[in-house]
Amino acid sequence: MKGDRYAYFPGCSQKGTAVEYGISSRKVAEALGVELVEIEDWSCCGATPAHTVDRLLSGALAARNLATAEKMGLATLVTPCPACLVASKNALELAQDDESLKELNELLDLPFKAEIQAKSLLQIIFEEVGVDALAQKVKKPLKGMRLAPYYGCLLTRPPERAQFDDPENPISIDRILEALGAEVPDFPFKTECCGAAFGLPKRDMVLTLSGKILDMAQQIGADGIVLACSLCQQNLDLRQGQINSHLGTNFEIPIFYITQMIGLAFGFSSKEMGLDRHAVHPDKLLKKWEEKLKE
């Protein structure tokens, strides 16, 4: 609800390779009147590696942050990162069992009640703020920008856990972009996997999978791809040069976070939204857009 205070969990990548996701998330939330209270001294949620070692360890790493948020008196943890979201939801699911909740508490140094809930920032923006309220705040509509909405895997899957949007044909990013004034084509690969966390150990496979997504975006004539996951962004943007060498392509497709596009439409500058921090520079598209706005 508007005016609610949320426990904000940025996640490790928002301090590093996805710094612009964190910056744009905070600015857009503020502009929308969504109060994000950063969880004090938060730690890593364990991400993918922890759950391949042990479900209890993974649960405890995520639960430390959930417990801190509960101690701060906040009812909902909000994170921009789908992997952090899944880790938090898994911990809450594990804690439904009394015996597991007891085990989690044995590993933690503060009490975990598992009464908090976890949502993605995208879900808060889409469901609690709503596209109508977003449209009202648009100062510079994304006129003339043809943007492919890309969700990746974890945001909506599996549906019982995600409790958000549709697992096969999600539409939240589509609707948000439309409200911002962009042209949103049907993107057949909107839920295909980018290759996930295997960038270091299995790079070629990530390049192959991410390459297919870029290729489809190019085929439908998209000016850019808009997503809500820092790992997807890293695979598609930072590794786009590697993809080109690997596949013999010459993609030059800017990859945006949804919060950056909301911010641009709200009138924030491209620098304020951290667009200068991307590997593939969106300058050409931004110039085309500025000219379109003057028409």
């Binding site: 490790c12 990548s13 301090k15 590093g16 390779t17 710094v19 001294d41 938060w42 730690s43 890593c44 364990g46 991400a47 993918t48 590696p49 922890a50 759950h51 391949t52 070692v53 042990d54 479900r55 209890l56 360890l57 405890a60 790493l61 430390r64 085990e103 044995e106 590993l107 933690l108 140094d109 990746g152 895997c153 974890l154 899957r157 599996p158 549906p159 697992p167 096969e168 839920t191 295909e192 996997c193 290759g195 996930a196 966390a197 295997f198 960038g199 270091l200 150990p201 299995k202 790079r203 496979m205 999978l209 930072l238 590794r239 040069g241 590697q242 200068d276 921090r277 590997a279």
Partner: protein, 185 residues
Amino acid sequence: MEILDLASIDRDFIKAVEEESGQDISLCYQCGNCTAGCPYAFAFDIPVHQIMRLIQVGQKEEVLRSHAIWLCATCETCTTRCPRNIDVARVMDTLRIMARREGMVSEAGIRRFHDDFLDSVKRHGRVYEVGLLLKYNLQSGRPFADAELGPKLLGKGKLHYFPENIKGVGAVKEIFERFAKKRGL
């Protein structure tokens, strides 16, 4: 078709997978939906639906030594589409955990990446990306992998040369230590 000797069916293994994953493996009727939707199927040595079948017939060694269980990216497509409501991704996770325990890991590189990641969390409370990259590359004997990404990150505030520990780094370390003690590691 491969013909199995009845004696090769490891019933304890079937039971262990079912208990640890909380899934009824016998429900799988081999429709192949999981394999059809799996983005990594092209790289799997054993497709997902066959992994499920091999569990049903108790082929512990073949399942736990497969590369497939490590190449699963946990994208949850299989779980989402299973008409028998089996959480297939959870089964794959369980198999990785068992393969570690039994010393049957076929993808040492992926396991090491996971271990290095968690080691970084244990040391600093959060993942220190540069440290993780360097450590992983050095151990893999290819120190300059991804070096060309440096210029794309440098000067953009996206690389930190030195780790920054959180205040509660001790508390995070204790989670790992209590966990190790509980599991007798």
